[in-house]
């Protein structure tokens, strides 16, 4: 009957998106009158006891070398066993590249209905209804899960982690884990950058920056804000910026607290990747740029004059020299 939360980690540390769903799972468990437990697969260096502060009573861990390869097939089989042992009836994942690949398989294995990319806590007043964004964030659907076991993957930045008191007990599960069906031969992490999908603030540039050599003003602003950097599709296609920075319909979809668009006109394909952002700021010299219609704040003007002033003002407020 409990809520089981799949906790993602990278390089031994628990991810921010996992903190969010620990809170999500703890609130849901309270709503259902049950308890929330975490599940960690593989090796972590972080102290798991401390995750109790997010409201979970117990962290289950399966520390098996094979699980350090993230193989959805092996993970689904292992998680299904953990579900059987813990008796969980709701399993929560982050809707991240890793989380979504595993959640779908787990739902199939358990014959459980799934809502992927949930935007809010379930409404359990009459059934079990989860809200998610559909049609590339142009609408929401309220979806009822009609099976006894339920799987939800939660969009990053949909809920803020709430930190309280308390420690979690650690429970090592003994499960016979098989061999991975895939072999990892290389991992290339972009170091020293904030992952786009996890960033609270994103500063994004378009063709209005006129060339890769002009990115300095954008990078300075991002640095002052502690923001991740992104770009529009034409910028990625022209190789002014690396492909992984491309946000939009065919690129990365982001939902930060603050999205600042510099020199981006705001084509509908771009908006599809950013319109879940809480606050959108548009700086563009063209007053007719469609992006202004979707923005919360805007300045019509030359970004090369405006952006350095923004950076200076932010530094002044934050007290950065």
């Amino acid at each position: 009957m409990s809520v089981l939360i799949f906790i993602e980690h990278t390089e031994g540390l628990i991810k921010k998106s996992a903190h969010e769903i620990l809170t999500y799972g703890a609130i849901l468990a309270a709503q259902l009158g049950t308890t929330a437990e975490g599940l960690v697969l593989g090796t972590v260096t972080e102290n798991l006891t401390a995750l109790g502060k997010y409201g979970v009573t117990k962290i289950n861990q399966i520390n098996n070398e094979s699980l350090n390869t993230i193989d959805s097939k092996l993970y689904a089989a292992t998680i299904a066993e953990a579900v059987a042992i813990t008796g969980a009836s709701v399993i929560i994942f982050s809707h991240t590249p890793t989380g979504k690949s595993i959640a779908a398989r787990v739902s199939a294995k358990l014959k459980a209905g799934m809502v992927s990319g949930a935007a809010a806590l379930p409404d359990t007043s009459n059934g079990f209804v989860v809200r998610k964004s559909v049609f590339s964030s142009k609408a929401y659907a309220n979806i009822s899960i009609n099976t006894p076991i339920k799987v939800i993957s939660v969009n990053p930045n949909s809920i803020s982690a709430v930190i309280g008191d308390g420690d979690a007990t650690i429970n090592q599960l003994t499960i016979n884990v098989g061999a991975p069906s895939i072999k990892t031969i290389a991992v290339n992490k972009i170091t020293g950058e904030i992952p786009l999908t996890e960033a609270d603030i994103v500063v994004s540039g378009g063709r209005g920056l006129k060339g890769p050599e002009n990115w300095g003003v954008l990078l300075d602003l991002a640095k002052a804000l502690g923001a991740a950097t992104a770009c529009s599709r034409p910028v990625g296609d022209a190789h002014w910026r690396p492909h992984h920075e491309h946000v939009g319909q065919t690129g990365v979809q982001v939902a930060p607290n603050l999205y600042i668009a510099l020199g981006i006109s705001g084509a509908i394909q771009h908006l599809a990747g950013v319109n879940r952002s809480k606050t959108i700021v548009v700086i563009n010299k063209d007053p007719e740029a469609p992006f202004f219609k979707s923005a919360d704040y805007g300045i019509v003007g030359d970004l090369f004059e405006i952006v350095p002033q923004m950076t200076a003002e932010i530094k002044r407020i934050k007290g950065i020299a």
């Binding site: 991810k15 993230i70 193989d71 959805s72 097939k73 809707h95 890793t98 979504k100 690949s101 595993i102 779908a104 398989r105 739902s107 199939a108 459980a112 209905g113 799934m114 809502v115 992927s116 209804v129 559909v134 049609f135 590339s136 142009k138 609408a139 929401y140 659907a141 979806i143 009822s144 899960i145 069906s181 895939i182 072999k183 990892t184 290389a186 991992v187 290339n188 972009i190 950058e193 992952p195 603030i201 804000l225 491309h246 065919t250 603050l258 509908i268 809480k278 606050t279 700021v281 548009v282 923005a295 919360d296 704040y297 805007g298 300045i299 405006i306 002033q309 923004m310 932010i314 407020i317």
Partner: protein, 247 residues
């Protein structure tokens, strides 16, 4: 080599999204239907590239939906699919749809099954994973590169904050995204050939649905942009800091 490419009919990106029947159903009238871009640009085109390298390759197309999916199947034929299966039922439940495709896959024994990374209608990113589970195959999601050496695939996939290269033996289910291939336009020869390629309409297998859509909502309208004068940048930052509490 037998490849199954899963395609889905989706509203064109510029379509107006509206609902009918008291917001319980998508308003389809006036919608321009396209092949879901991830299915077409990345998975189908990559399959065609593999066939160009090895002409003995056979590409099957599958979609789950009613007869109004036929135009997108003809387009997939024009691009290079060989034979198609349309499973004749409309559904929004990921498990139901994937179970239909998994049944076809179990009968036809594909070496490779490609899906798009997600569909731009319900954005669930779930079909590939469910099919893989139901046919007991490995699943690599969010692939950006795919190379084949005999019966082993080398696949680059997106992970948080980077990418990972994995090796896997066939059969495998792969969800495809940008990087896998480049969009193509069908040529006249392809369009002519598409008319005569076999489109098999098959009836769905019995399968319960696990989820149901209660209703839809449009996001609250934006209050409208607050424009700040270009010579008053400090005011913008003050609003972001104090009103929006954005940093």
């Amino acid at each position: 080599m037998k490849i199954l490419v899963c395609i889905n009919k989706a509203p064109d990106t510029t379509s107006k999204i509206a609902f009918k029947n008291n917001n319980t159903a998508f308003e389809e009238s006036g919608v321009q239907w396209i092949i879901n871009p991830y299915d077409e640009w990345y998975s189908l085109v990559r399959a065609i590239e593999l066939k160009e390298k090895d002409p003995t390759t056979i590409i099957h197309i599958v979609t789950v939906g009613s007869a109004d999916c036929d135009p997108i199947i003809r387009k997939a034929f024009a691009l290079g699919g060989d034979e198609a299966f349309r499973i004749n039922i409309d559904s929004t439940d990921s498990y139901f749809i994937a179970a239909q495709i998994a049944d076809l896959a179990n009968n036809n024994k594909y070496d490779l099954i490609f899906t798009g990374k997600e569909s731009i209608d319900y954005n669930s990113a779930a079909i590939g994973g469910i099919i893989a589970q139901l046919i007991d195959a490995p699943y690599i999601s969010l692939a950006t590169l795919f190379e084949l050496n005999g019966h082993t695939a080398t696949i680059t996939r997106e992970i948080e904050g980077g990418e990972e290269v994995a090796e896997v033996n066939l059969p495998v289910v792969v969800s495809c995204q940008k990087g896998m291939a480049e969009q193509r336009i069908p040529n006249m020869r392809g369009i002519m050939a598409a008319r005569t390629k076999p489109l098999n309409v098959i009836e769905p297998i019995a399968q319960e649905t696990f989820t149901s859509i209660i209703n839809f909502e449009l996001p609250p309208a934006k209050a409208g942009v607050k424009l700040i004068a270009a010579d008053n940048v400090a005011e913008l930052i003050k609003l972001l800091h104090e009103e929006a509490k954005a940093f």
